[in-house]
Structures are given as C-alpha cells and as structure tokens.
Assembly symmetry: C3
Homo-oligomer: 259 residues x 3
C-alpha cells in the first residue's frame, strides 16, 4: 500500500510542469524515505533529478518500494482539474497497474478522483557523483528564466562567465551580440538577490535550449542555484521548501576543433 | 414596427454567446409577449430554447409578429463593437429584410448603428412537453462548466448519477477514469451552492461534447439547473433574471446492444 | 560619436511598435537636432514620419550626421529584453556598421547590452508639404483604434465624413452596414474628449487596412489628431510628449469610374 497526501495540489502542479517539457513519461520511485525520480531528457543530453522527502507530506505511507511509470502530460491534465488549494492524495496498491489521484476541496463539498493506468518504462539509474563547484551563484529564478529567454533570440549557444562579484551571460549570432551582466548585490540580508561565490573564475558554453527547458521549474522557488566547474556538468537547482529539490545537469559544449 | 431597448448590451452579448456555438444561424420570433427562439443544434442532436419576456426590456413594441433570421456569428461581431454598458435598441419594419442594432454610450457622445441583412431560414417548431424530472439539481454554473471541461479529457461519454445528497459525473477512457462528486451543501441559505432534489435515483449517459457546448451560457446565471428522468431528455437551464431563460435539452445515450 | 540616453525604455518600445507593422526595416537619421525617420510603408501606399527632438533625451550627443539602418522586428525583440523602466543608451561610432543598445536597471544590479548589425537601406526622402486641413478632429486614440477595428468587419473601405460638431465613420459590405458617430463633447476642459474644427465639411474614403496599421501607435498618446481636406492625404498624428510625433499620411480612395 502506498499513500501520500499533500495539503495543496499547487505544489504537485509545479513539479509536474517542471518535468513534463523534458520528459514525456517517467517513473516515480517511491520508498519509505520519499519519492525520487531521475532521468535523462528525451534527447539524452541533460539529466533531471527530483527528490521529495516523505517528511514534507501531510501523510505518507509506503509499505513496499514501488515504481509508478506515468505519462506526465496526462498527469498534468489531471492536475489542471484540481484547484490549487485542493488537498491531493496519491495512492496505489502493492504491485500496482494503476495509480489514484484523489482531490478534496477545502469545503469538502466537492471530491474527485482520477485513476491513471501505469506505464512500464525502462529505467537507467545513473550515479550522480557529489561535485564541488568552482563557482556557485544564487539569483532570482525569474531573472534566470528571463535571461535564457532573451538570449535565445541571438544564438543557440549561451556562454556563462562567472568571476568575482559578477556573472555574465552572452550569446552572439547573425543579428548581433547580447551580454547580460548581474552584479553581486550589496551585502544586506533582506535585499540580497544575487550572491556569487567564486573559488576560481569559470567560462563555459551551454546549449540554450536545455537551459530554457530547465526554467520551467521557476515557479518552484524564489531563487535558483547555479554551480559550475571545468569539465563537470552545470548544476541548476530549484529547492522545494520542506521537500527537497529539482536538479538539472547539463554538460558544457566542447569547442569544435578547427579544421 | 418592432422596437426593443435594453439598458445594457452586456446581456445581449451573453445570450448570443450562449447560442452561437450551437447554431450558426437562427430565427428570433418576436411577438407582443416577447422574443422566443427554438432550434435543434446544427447536428440535430440537442435542442435549445430561448425565452425573453417583453417585460424585461426598457422599452418594447411589436405591432405584428415577425421572424428575424440572423447569422449569429455576425451578430456576435456587431455586439463586440459595443461597450457592455451601452444601451442597445433593436428595430425592424413590418415584413423586414433587415434589422437595425443601434448603440448609445452612457455619455451619449458616441452612437453607432449596424444594419444586418436578414436571412430566410427554414424553421421547425417542436412542441416541448412539460416534464417532471425525477432528479433536479442546482449548482454553480461555473462548477458545471468546469466538470464538463475536465471530463472531456477522458471520454466523449459522460455518466451522470444522481442520488440522495450527491451527484456524480464520471468518464472513462484509455488514459484512465475520472469521477467528480458534488454533495448537497449544508442547509444554510447564504452558502448553499449545491441543492439536490431526488424522487428516485437516476443514472444516465450523455455526449460530453453537447454538455460542453451548453456551458457557453455560463455567464448568464450564477446557478444552473439540471433535470433528469429515465427516457426523457436531460434539461440544462440557465435563468435570465427578469427576462426568462435559455434551456438546452439532450437525449441520453442508449447503450449499444452487444453483438 | 553618437549617444542618446532615455530614462525609460518604455517610450522606445512604443515607438518601435508604432513602426514595425508598417516597416520591416528602416533608417533612423540622427543629427544634432534629434532623430528623424521618414518612409513609405512596405506596400508604398502610406507614409510614416517620426520626429524626436534631441531636447527630449536625458543625454544627447551627435558629432556627425549618421544613418542607422535597422531591422525593426529585431529591434523590437531586443527591447522586449529590457524592463519598461530600465534606462537605455543608444550609441554608435561615426561611420558605424553596428549600433549598441545598453540597458541599466534602476538598482544598477543588472546591466545588459545588445549590439545590432546595421543594414544598408535605400532611402527616398520625400518632401511633405505643409498643408492646412479643412477639418481637424482630436479624439481619444483608443476610440479611433476601436472604430478602425470594428469597421474592418464590414468592409475594406472606410468612409469618414466630418461636419460641424460630429465625425462619422462608415463601412458597408455584404453582411450589412455600420455607422459610428462621435459628437463634439460639451465644452468643459477636463472632460472634453472629442474636439472638431471644421472650415468646410469633408467626406472621403480610405483603405481600412492602412488606418488600422496606424493605430499601432495608440499607446504613444492619449489623443490622436486627424486632419482631412479634399485632394490631400489624410493626416493621423500621435504626439510624443517632450519629443515630437509620429505622423501617418494616407491618400483618399478615388471612386472607380463606372463602366
């Protein structure tokens, strides 16, 4: 028996929105400690990792580890049928072939349940090694989303250059060149929006399309954390308060050798 | 001479929106007592009935019964040209070949008039027998609209099951099964949103596409009234305060005989 | 060296929106006195003229006259990357092959710059003779935009008839006839929205598509000024406070001779 209850459907909606552009279908691994998901995007270039601790849920019970293979687009549609402040209970039998999403309005006048058939998906579990990053930047998640969107007009390649006190995003194409620079905010706890920790400056290039797809997680957190180091995939992390995180990893672009 | 004046164009806009998805063109029958319309939808499955009493109008005069055949899409466009709080006067000569819609802004600084050519439409008047329904449910019109939209994801067929104290809407398809249940609200005049009167429980199936098209009338009233009985068309009624109603009728789906 | 600084990017956004539907690309002529643009629309029927005085800018320097040939669609995209209340500085070298747009957020935490390649565009400078108009009408710009949009449903040709105290816009087609009439407001400085000065009544016909394209300038001013006289192009002018104006000119339609 698996059962997990969230007080507000809104959070689940945001999580599914953060995943469904990258993954058509995916498997939620449920265990006593919580729910995990790890998968390459459909084009096998970036990696996405979701971790939700059982402690975040209003109610959580998982007698036996189980894997729920779900069509994320269909799940997103089901979630649209619920109000943001409806409570949602996810439940499944042991060895399930379907999963039940039950919603309850605050007044309890309205209840609804949606039974989705499970899919059998192949899974590859990749060990993600712990990495220490030469540069760690925290900035407003909406700012990062906007930069990714703006630079997409100029080029498919986005160059991120991080140095003491500033991070610069650049793109250059036929129409021209764009540079967007953020500076570390004045030290003032309340208004600090951008923080930059640099062990050594790093400049790397990334596929802008992947960066943009990561920003679908923007509604999940105020701040996004970016970690960069040479020869290591970029980390883009959105924390989920009380629950865990969504993390995206993307390998830097390697310069084409000149002919 | 026919002349009817409404203080606010908004009401006429909502009425035309309630009809124009179902009927491309239709005939307004004007008489001394008011304006009536009755027609099968374009696919001849459901029936729509509009009744506007002459008493609701600011000014109403109809010397001779007349029929105004109108292209509803064009009428909707004309109405979009008016502000919601413009006054509108509809007028036509006896034996008319055109109808005039004249709008006046509240400040009277702006007046506009639109002359539409009339169409000659065949009409079939169907007697709608008075029916007593085994179940009568009143619920917020927006709730009914949302249920119809949500269930459309799962199946073309919507099953409505009404019993003492609750009404359940269900749809089942390849992706899974959905059930939405509304319970009678606690008896409290002010907050009562759902009321259910049941002589005997009824469960019937309907084409979801038609139900959805009926919900275009949602802006007309806070509440929708649903009447069901075995072997009788479903009634979906939106009252129009001071004027009358829009009613939709839809025959239940009959189970296909098994081969 | 050319440099022009505006306190708010919003104004530049509105100007480019007013031009980009009519002109794919165009040349800004920069001189000591300010920035001018004059061009036929892409179908060579109407004329658009932009005049921005150097005095409106926060900072303005133009050592040598220069012409900046810009792809307006690309410029509009670059401007979308800036916040409305960012400051923007436009700069170019003498004999430039590129132009730089630099934006600065109010907190200065974020700066961005966009370098656009210049285009070499052929230019034809047309002398626009000073004209005295038999009718000059001022009305709310949003009202004019709405009239153009509404009449487009009925016909490609819009007839404007101006006489003492009123201006009437008409269109007539297969679906019917529309007339919209505005009357001069009561003389009261504060509420006067429509003012009409008539030396002699004029009735002229114009291509509705061109009128509609002019209304893209609506966000630039509260009021639009319309000037008409027989045998002279219609003037549609949107003033830009402290800077100058955008003006559009359109020749009246000539009645087709009957066969």
């Amino acid at each position: 028996m698996f059962e997990a209850r969230l007080g507000k459907t809104a959070l689940l909606k945001k999580i599914v929105e953060a995943l469904k552009d990258i993954l058509k279908a995916s498997t939620l691994d449920c265990s006593d400690s919580g729910i995990q998901l790890q998968a390459m995007d459909d084009s096998h270039v970036s990696l996405v990792e979701l971790s939700l601790s059982s402690e975040g849920f209003e109610k959580y019970r998982c007698d036996r580890n189980l894997s729920l293979g779900l069509h994320l687009d269909m799940l997103a549609k089901v979630l649209k049928c619920a109000n943001n402040d409806d409570a949602v209970t996810i439940s499944a039998q042991d060895k399930p072939d379907k999963v039940l999403f039950a919603f309850e309005s605050q007044s309890k006048e309205r209840t609804s349940d949606y039974e989705l058939r499970l899919m059998n998906l192949e899974q590859e579990h990749l060990g993600i090694p712990d990495t220490s990053y030469a540069c760690v930047v925290r900035m407003p998640a909406v700012e990062f989303a906007r930069i990714c969107r703006d630079l997409a007009m100029f080029s498919e390649t986005v160059i991120i250059a991080c140095q003491k006190d500033s991070i610069k995003f650049s793109a250059s194409g036929d129409a021209g060149t764009a540079n967007i620079k953020l500076s570390q905010s004045v030290i003032d706890e309340e208004t600090q929006r951008v923080s930059i920790e640099v062990d050594e400056p790093v400049t790397l290039s990334f596929g802008g399309r992947y960066l943009s797809s990561f920003t679908r997680a923007t509604p999940l957190s105020e701040q996004v954390k970016i970690g960069m180091a040479v020869n290591v995939p970029l980390l883009v992390e959105y924390a989920i308060e009380n629950f865990g995180y969504v993390r995206y990893y993307l390998a830097p672009k390697v310069d084409e050798p000149e002919a």
